[in-house]
Amino acid sequence: MSRDAILDTLREILDEVAEVPADRVTLDAGFTDDLELDSLAIVSVFVLVQRRFGVDVPNEDADTLTTVRAAVDYLEQRDAAAV
């Protein structure tokens, strides 16, 4: 999956979880600081990540993914590792 496709899917997920407008979901955006998600909403995001990408992100990994860029990097790596 390309980085663009991963980002598009994350935008859909963030819209679904917290109605975050797609244009706010930039690579540099922080989930808590910029997108104003609380900790349960972040869990919801990774529940949907698991459903859409088939990638189980353990909470201890999720805790380190504080920005959209970190999440995209992580999912890209996990995607590559799964091939």
């Binding site: 609380d38 349960l40 869990v43």
Partner: protein, 352 residues
């Protein structure tokens, strides 16, 4: 409420819910009251859980009193006298006595005639576990009428300063009567456990810790809320889907979705995950009653039926999950609307 496909027969046992009842204790506890002891706010609690109020038992409102109250209502709804009950199952984790069981005391107080009686421990899934067993017992001919009661008094096992749990739990009881029916009314249960996650909702210490050290703190509930939230939001969708499939019921045909009232945000995740259409009524009684563990599903059933929010005779998906972790889902045919709505008990003034 659409009736499309509603009357398609349920695949399941020739058993049904004959009556439902509940006990809501007398002390209404607001978020503001919780925050007198807790560094939190009404807004934060509502936002995180959907909870506005919960009810806590007064001293006299023991698990026995609450269970008997709920069972009495269920019997009246089923129009059965207590001697017709030949099995009593009580699900609870807050009966603070190892033996004898709470079920034998409840059976005695109700005036039943020597029924089989026992407690079971399956946390917030306890009611659904008991319901599955009751349906199987009736199907097998081991019992004719089974009383299934979920009762909790978790207010006395709370750490009132724990931001993750102090606001969450309410006390109460709910009960149903299960008996034989002409048509299938209780679908196959989809249940299981994942004991590798038994640390995620736990009692902080065994009761024996109090014997070993008289100054040890009273054991309370501890929960890793984020882990549980994630497990429930992800794993329970497939459990619910399998329960629907085994009962042969399409999601759009549901007359109600009654999940364990764990947290409103878990409920919303499940609704989304199951892609339930908007016309399906969803129990959201946690807003008024908090998370009452084993009591939450029968209390929610009682509430939505009394309020006319769910159509009697239609299929309802029940889905429970809790400490263990354990889970159970099944589809049931909704009974008629109960004659008595859930109502907080009057403050006790005399001996029970």
């Amino acid at each position: 409420m659409s009736a499309v496909g509603r009357r398609a027969p349920l695949a399941g046992a020739p058993t049904a819910l004959l009556g439902v009842g509940s006990y809501v204790p007398s002390r209404r506890i607001t978020n503001e009251m919780i925050c007198e002891r807790l560094d939190s706010s009404d807004e934060w609690i509502r936002n995180r859980s959907g909870i506005r109020t919960r009810y806590w038992a007064a001293e006299e409102e023991t698990v026995e009193v609450m269970a008997v109250g709920a069972a009495g209502q269920a019997l009246r709804h089923a129009a059965l006298s207590p001697e017709r009950i030949d099995c009593v199952i009580v699900s609870t984790v807050s009966h603070l006595r190892q033996f004898p069981s709470l079920a034998v005391a409840v059976a005695d107080r109700l005036g039943t005639r020597a029924p089989a009686a026992f407690d079971l421990t399956a946390g917030c899934a306890g009611f659904s576990y008991g319901l599955a067993m009751a349906s199987d017992l009736v199907t097998a001919g081991s019992a004719e009428h089974v009383l299934v009661i979920g009762v909790e008094r978790l207010s006395e096992q709370l750490d009132v300063e724990d931001r993750g749990t102090a606001f969450l739990f309410g006390d109460g009881a709910g009960a149903v009567v299960v008996g034989r029916a002409d048509e299938p009314g209780i679908g196959p249960v989809v249940w299981g456990s994942d004991g590798s996650q038994r640390h995620t909702i736990r009692q902080t210490a065994a009761w024996s810790s109090l014997r070993e050290d008289r100054t040890a703190p009273w054991p309370v509930i501890a929960m890793e809320g984020r882990e549980v939230f994630r497990w429930a939001a992800y794993e329970m969708v497939s459990v619910a889907a399998r329960a629907l499939e085994r009962a042969g019921v399409e999601p759009e045909a549901l007359a109600a979705f009654v999940p364990h009232q764990a947290n409103l945000r878990i409920t919303e995740e499940l609704v989304k995950g199951l892609a339930l259409p908007e016309h399906v009524p969803v129990a959201r009684t946690i807003t008024d009653y908090g998370n009452s563990s084993a009591a939450s599903i029968p209390l929610a059933l009682h509430q939505i039926l009394s309020a006319g929010e769910a159509e009697p005779g239609g299929p309802a998906l029940l889905l429970a999950f809790g400490t263990g972790l354990v889970y159970a889902g099944q589809v049931v045919t909704l009974p008629t609307a109960p004659p008595e709505p859930p109502r907080p008990a009057a403050a006790p003034t005399a001996q029970p």
